[in-house]
């Protein structure tokens, strides 16, 4: 069914960023990023300045959606882990919880074994953070920033 609204707060974002930064170091990775299953980039860490992370996020989500579709046809729940090996760089993709995807890009300075090990640990931590985030979002007491928006605000966006 339709998932609840995806929301990210400062507090959880900072926790997630810490996990990503740590994963870059511990796994000797080039880049770590987290995407939600709809392709929205949540956090990035490492040497990503030269990378088109928005495109990568959308393609990662498309990739996970496609393999998820294949899994369904095989009556599998999902393929939680993927690994793509290139000549110089490799990509490790891990589904975290039900909603987000953890991507690690690494080269010969690291190894699949090390990345796997560190990803497992990071996944457990991220799981906890996203669980608590989800609880917060579902709490009806949490106000939305959109309650305040007026029709004029929306119209102004298009007056250029």
């Amino acid at each position: 069914m339709v998932d609840p609204q995806m929301v990210m707060y400062e507090e959880e974002f900072n926790h997630i960023q810490v996990v990503c930064d740590k994963l870059v170091r511990d796994a000797n990775a080039l880049v770590v990023f987290i995407v939600d299953k709809n392709g929205q980039l949540i956090a990035t860490s490492g040497e990503y300045e030269h990378l088109d992370t928005t495109s990568l996020a959308s393609l990662t989500a498309g990739n996970i959606a496609a393999t998820g579709g294949m899994a369904k046809l095989l009556k599998e729940n999902e393929f939680a882990t993927q690994f793509h090996e290139g000549e110089h760089q490799n990509i490790h993709i891990q589904i975290v919880g039900q909603r987000v995807i953890l991507v690690v890009i690494f080269d010969e300075r690291s190894s699949l074994g090390l990345v796997r090990l560190r990803v497992r640990k990071a996944t457990a931590e991220l799981d906890r953070i996203f669980e608590s985030l989800l609880r917060k979002v579902q709490d009806p007491g949490t106000p939305s920033p959109f309650a305040e928006i007026t029709d004029d605000d929306i119209d102004n966006l298009f007056n250029d």
Partner: protein
Amino acid sequence: MSFINYSSREINCKIVYYGPGLCGKTTNLQYIYNRTNPDAKGKMISLATETERTLFFDFLPLSLGEIRGFKTRFHLYTVPGQVFYDASRKLILKGVDGVIFVADSQIDRMEANIESLENLRYNLQEQGYELDNLPYVVQYNKRDLPNVASVDELRELLNITMAPDFEAISTTGQGVFDTLKAVAKAVLTDLKRGS
């Protein structure tokens, strides 16, 4: 599924262009891409066959500006219109916030339009959405061609719910931004209402 990020102060919304094969979905995105300032857009990604038919999706990230200190970002996707890519179409609809149905105005594409619209309703329902509850607009494309149905006929067949609709020639851009703005506005209005 819009994504509100308080940390980066951004709202992300997903808009999907749906419609039969060759109706002009990819052409809409290409026009938008070509006419948008570099600082307001990201790269356009097209996963297409060698004959330029969409294979999985096109993707174009756009920034529209700020509302109350939140950057509004729209992720535009097209689906592959060819009938046998249905599995891919379902995947692209996941997390959608707004839909544009692009109809091909040519009379001999009317059945394809109707079939695609039914397919859209069905695929949305499978995901727990109802088209009539979603921000939704219709575009009658290819108005420049000779053998096209009248807008009244198109409305009767493809837009009985009277969603906002637009005539377009997406190769020249006519109607392209009007269509996009209408759905973007509907998405934001929906967010406001839903909150």
